[in-house]
């Protein structure tokens, strides 16, 4: 079990926490939160420390600090929902979709440059969610008031204090900002994960774990959007990285057999070692490309030309 690094204040304004947290491990997480535990063990989860701050005549503030085994996993949990007001608890510029948001008054952070393009804390209606190194935290005031908001933000600052500020997962760097023909990355709906349950909660593919996802793999799902006279069109991009090429190839074979059973499978690579295919199915063109240990998929392409252009671009 990892060291419990963040030290939360005993008292924050009118609220006081118990001396020790409720400790939740992978074994006890279902007792704590029922089926929601599947989410956390779908990432590299170490343990959870939960505190209920109480105050006389005021609603409680719940603090949940999730200790993950890597910073990528903590980032992944925040990435499942980018809604909310991006906050700058540490002083670094907070941005999403390339647009700066609310700069803070704190000293300059030591964040790597690329980390500035993803928020590290989001607040809305009493709930603060944050990512800080290997920690993901949820701090929720059961009743939002100006006082509770101040307390929630102060607790957030105490959690991130003295923690490292690593960059987001490297796999994100493989996401192009745009594809040809004006398809733009929907950054605010980009998620990082390792579990097919999480994938299905983002973009439902089917009943079983057809991509063989597990804690040794990592994946990103993101829409790409294009505005035209008919409105917004959206295609769905999925990038999965496995521990090695053999596992990637097995996963692609499994996916193909389950999802595209009517199409013969050809996994012959070209001179570059890549394999790519495209198919017209019910909701548009589906394409995939495998190279080394990584597979890229596109779903719901409006036409073959777009699918081919994007597949060639990947």
């Amino acid at each position: 079990m990892q060291e419990s690094k963040p030290t939360l204040p005993k008292t924050i304004r009118a609220w006081t926490r118990p001396d020790s947290p409720q400790l939740v491990t992978a074994k006890s997480i279902f007792d704590y939160m029922d089926g929601a535990g599947e989410l956390y063990i779908g990432y590299r989860f170490d343990h959870l420390e939960s505190y209920e701050y109480k105050a006389k005549d005021l609603n409680n503030i719940l603090v949940e600090v999730y200790f993950m085994k890597t910073s990528d996993d903590a980032f992944g949990l925040l990435s499942l929902d980018w809604e909310g007001e991006p906050l700058n608890l540490a002083g670094e510029p907070a941005q999403i979709a390339g647009k700066p948001v609310r700069s803070g008054k704190s000293p300059q952070s030591k964040a790597a440059p690329e980390s500035s393009s993803w928020p590290r804390a989001l607040y809305g209606e009493g709930l603060l969610r944050l990512w800080s190194d290997t920690v993901y935290a949820r701090i929720m005031a059961h009743q939002e008031t100006p006082e509770s908001k101040e307390a929630v933000l102060a607790l957030g600052r105490s959690i991130i204090k003295d923690r490292e500020n690593p960059p987001p997962p490297k796999l994100l760097q493989k996401l192009p900002d745009t594809f040809p023909e004006d398809w733009v990355l929907g950054k605010e709906r980009t998620s990082y994960f390792r579990s097919h349950l999480v994938l299905n909660s983002i973009y439902y593919l089917g009943q079983e774990n057809m991509l063989n996802l597990d804690l040794s793999s990592e994946a990103i799902a993101s829409p790409y959007e294009k505005k035209d006279s008919e409105g917004i069109k959206r295609i769905h991009f999925l990038l999965v990285k496995y521990s090695d090429h053999k596992r990637a190839r097995q996963a692609l074979g499994h996916f193909h057999n389950v999802y595209l059973p009517e199409h013969p499978i050809f996994l012959q690579s070209d001179s570059s070692g890549e394999i790519s295919n495209m198919f017209l199915i019910e909701d548009g063109w589906l394409g995939y490309k495998i190279k080394d240990e990584t597979i890229a998929f596109i779903f719901e392409c409006p036409d073959q030309k777009t699918a081919r252009t994007i597949i060639n671009q990947i």
Partner: protein
């Protein structure tokens, strides 16, 4: 024997869910229909803007009036007592089944139902909290589902069909890929035919899947939704959640995973109807933001 097939997004788009789920369930024990309480697919929605205050505290006096209206509209009886007595018998042991976690049923809803039953002549010691493992329904002759209206990250919707998940003894068997099988729990021998009423707590629903509650996705609907056809009820609940999500994003925002359990409860388990055209929705009270499309 037909080949077992894994359900995929493509089945959902093609509308072949029922056939695919049916094929995948061949050999399972509790496939047969029969859990539906009555033949009626009437769903009542009773709303009152004053059911909660600005801080979302429940006004129990208003809630009691809403329950009275619900029961008389649903049964066609003039009094609450007569309405209850068409649904349950004084000698029944009645289990109340609220949603226990993650946007749980308001305790005020459970309390007002219990006191209303007592007022109707049901002895207090014959009214149990029946949420929990398989022993709970076994101790009851009648069940009243009291789920809270919410989306769910593993089942799409986590309201009516999911309310008995703990009765299976293996709730994780019904998550995600198996959420289409939730209907089979209603056909377990110790559950089948016991459901007399489902009353959905739609006071403060949750429209995003979570898995944990984010207040951003909760809103004051201030409603009670009731019926005896659990599938029709979940169909109406699904419509409300879907419309709310569309309102929030300004465009369709489909639930993911899709709520396969609702259609399967109809087409595979025969628990009721998911066909909107066959559901009669009676609405009373506050009309703003009904979210019925």
């Amino acid at each position: 024997m037909p080949q077992r097939k894994s359900l995929t997004r493509r089945d959902f788009i093609r509308g072949t869910l029922g056939a695919t789920v049916g094929t995948s369930l061949i050999g399972t024990k509790w496939l047969t229909a029969g859990g539906k309480a009555t033949g009626s697919s009437l769903v009542t929605i009773v709303r009152d803007k004053g059911a909660m205050d600005a801080s979302n505290n429940v006004n129990t006096k208003v809630l009691k009036t809403m329950l009275d209206q619900t029961l008389t509209k649903l049964t066609g009886k003039k009094t609450t007592k007569d309405a209850w007595l068409t649904l349950v018998k004084p000698e029944d042991t009645i289990g109340l089944v609220p949603t226990p976690h993650l946007n749980p049923t308001h305790q005020e809803v459970v309390d007002v139902v219990k006191s209303s039953l007592i007022d109707a002549g049901i002895p207090e010691n014959k009214i149990l909290n029946a949420q929990g493992g398989p022993d709970k329904p076994k101790a009851c002759t009648a069940l009243i589902g009291l789920p809270a209206l919410k989306a769910h990250w593993l089942t799409g919707i986590g309201t009516v069909m999911k309310i008995y998940i703990l009765y299976s003894g293996k709730p994780s068997n019904y998550h995600d890929q198996n959420n289409s099988k939730l209907g089979e729990i209603w056909n377990l021998p110790f559950v089948k035919g016991k459901t007399r009423l489902v009353l959905v707590d739609a006071l403060h629903p949750l429209c995003d899947k979570g898995p944990q509650v984010n207040p951003r996705y909760k809103w004051a609907y201030n409603g009670l939704i009731a019926g005896t056809d659990p599938v029709a009820l979940d169909t109406v609940c699904l419509r409300i959640i879907t419309e709310k999500r569309k309102e929030l994003r300004g465009e369709p925002w489909p639930l993911s995973p899709p709520p396969l359990c609702v259609e399967a409860a109809d087409k595979v388990y025969g628990l009721g109807t998911s066909n909107w055209d066959k559901i009669k929705v009676e609405i009373s009270g506050w009309k703003e933001g009904l979210l019925l499309g």
